[in-house]
Symmetry: C3
Subunit: 109 residues, 3 copies
Amino acid sequence: MKLVIAIVQDTDAPGLTKALLERGFQSTKLASTGGFLREGNTTLLIGVEDEKVEEVLEIVREKCRTRTRLVTRGLPLSEAPDPFLAQPVEVQVGGAVVFVLPVEGFFKL
Amino acid sequence: MKLVIAIVQDTDAPGLTKALLERGFQSTKLASTGGFLREGNTTLLIGVEDEKVEEVLEIVREKCRTRTRLVTRGLPLSEAPDPFLAQPVEVQVGGAVVFVLPVEGFFKL
Amino acid sequence: MKLVIAIVQDTDAPGLTKALLERGFQSTKLASTGGFLREGNTTLLIGVEDEKVEEVLEIVREKCRTRTRLVTRGLPLSEAPDPFLAQPVEVQVGGAVVFVLPVEGFFKL
Ligand SMILES: Nc1ncnc2c1ncn2[C@@H]1O[C@@H]2COP(=O)(O)O[C@H]3[C@@H](O)[C@H](n4cnc5c(N)ncnc54)O[C@@H]3COP(=O)(O)O[C@H]2[C@H]1O
Ligand SMILES: Nc1ncnc2c1ncn2[C@@H]1O[C@@H]2COP(=O)(O)O[C@H]3[C@@H](O)[C@H](n4cnc5c(N)ncnc54)O[C@@H]3COP(=O)(O)O[C@H]2[C@H]1O
Ligand SMILES: Nc1ncnc2c1ncn2[C@@H]1O[C@@H]2COP(=O)(O)O[C@H]3[C@@H](O)[C@H](n4cnc5c(N)ncnc54)O[C@@H]3COP(=O)(O)O[C@H]2[C@H]1O
């Protein structure tokens, strides 16, 4: 058993959860906020048998789109040497950021 | 130190947190949502000394009840070959789903 | 890659996230609730390269303050042998409670 933690955009979360269910994968959704854009996003907890992790990553890859966001907020001070950067900047927000964690015990109590 | 992640029903969360406190276990509560029922549930983070994990699992077992929920929502398409399944279906929602994760470092800063 | 889970007070969260960004560390914020005080706090997920964990802990140490809270709620029953304890009690709430978890896989999909 591994714990897959997938941070995805809110728009992709319902489609991803549905696709996971259709292939027999259970999940739990946590509302979250991105550190940089400070916008809402979704953190999914997905407990998966070891040999099925690849399949779950494939579903995440299929269902989560990279999008471009315009940010007027400047970059963090240390990276914004030039006032020009206060203009809208294009930022690519990835499809998904995924951590796969080892699990020592899994129980249904 | 292990990190116990317990996904429990909202009804059981206050009694569980209180029972943990009474036995000296600290916890942090996250509001969450089940992937299938799409109803609110509770995800508890419980950092526990290795030798106390069994005791925490025992408390979770005591305080969390399995309940039956009626769901009118059909099963995921691939598992609902028969229109009859659009009728209310009984679904058992477990007492608790628990992951025990290894912890490499624990700090109180 | 390690996953740093830092439970901090709401007041410290914005300053901590900003300081992390300025040093090139991304993070995801989850709204959470303390088991004892039952007050809102913040759980930050910070995926960090192994050799940078120390630096992240240092930033957390700098940005998170220990504070004293007055609690009128008695201690858990088993620890409150004396009715006197129903009076306001001073409780120290730490700067941060931090777990460092091993990560087997990190993907940007
Ligand atoms: N200092 C900076 N300068 C310029 N652009 C910056 C930046 N920091 C972030 N970005 C860009 O902004 C996007 C959104 O970041 P945010 O922190 O809101 O939302 C993030 C955050 O919630 C989470 N995340 C990413 N890496 C993480 C990590 N190492 N640990 C924890 N959460 C992470 O995944 C979301 C999407 O991340 P992703 O990398 O795809 O997309 C990021 C990245 O392309
Ligand atoms: N495809 C399906 N067909 C028929 N019935 C289905 C189903 N998927 C789930 N169920 C049933 O519905 C209950 C509630 O699932 P839900 O996803 O809302 O709420 C779940 C979810 O939030 C979490 N969970 C369970 N397994 C998980 C996993 N492997 N990874 C992450 N979260 C999990 O624990 C909650 C309770 O799970 P539990 O298994 O006790 O109870 C489940 C299960 O009995
Ligand atoms: N039984 C008890 N009797 C007397 N005082 C008690 C107590 N339980 C907790 N406290 C005190 O109350 C503060 C706030 O606890 P709370 O559970 O609301 O908020 C906690 C909780 O959300 C989280 N936390 C701490 N240890 C944890 C653990 N092992 N697992 C999961 N979360 C933990 O970090 C927050 C801050 O914890 P911190 O230890 O710095 O600060 C704690 C502690 O000093």
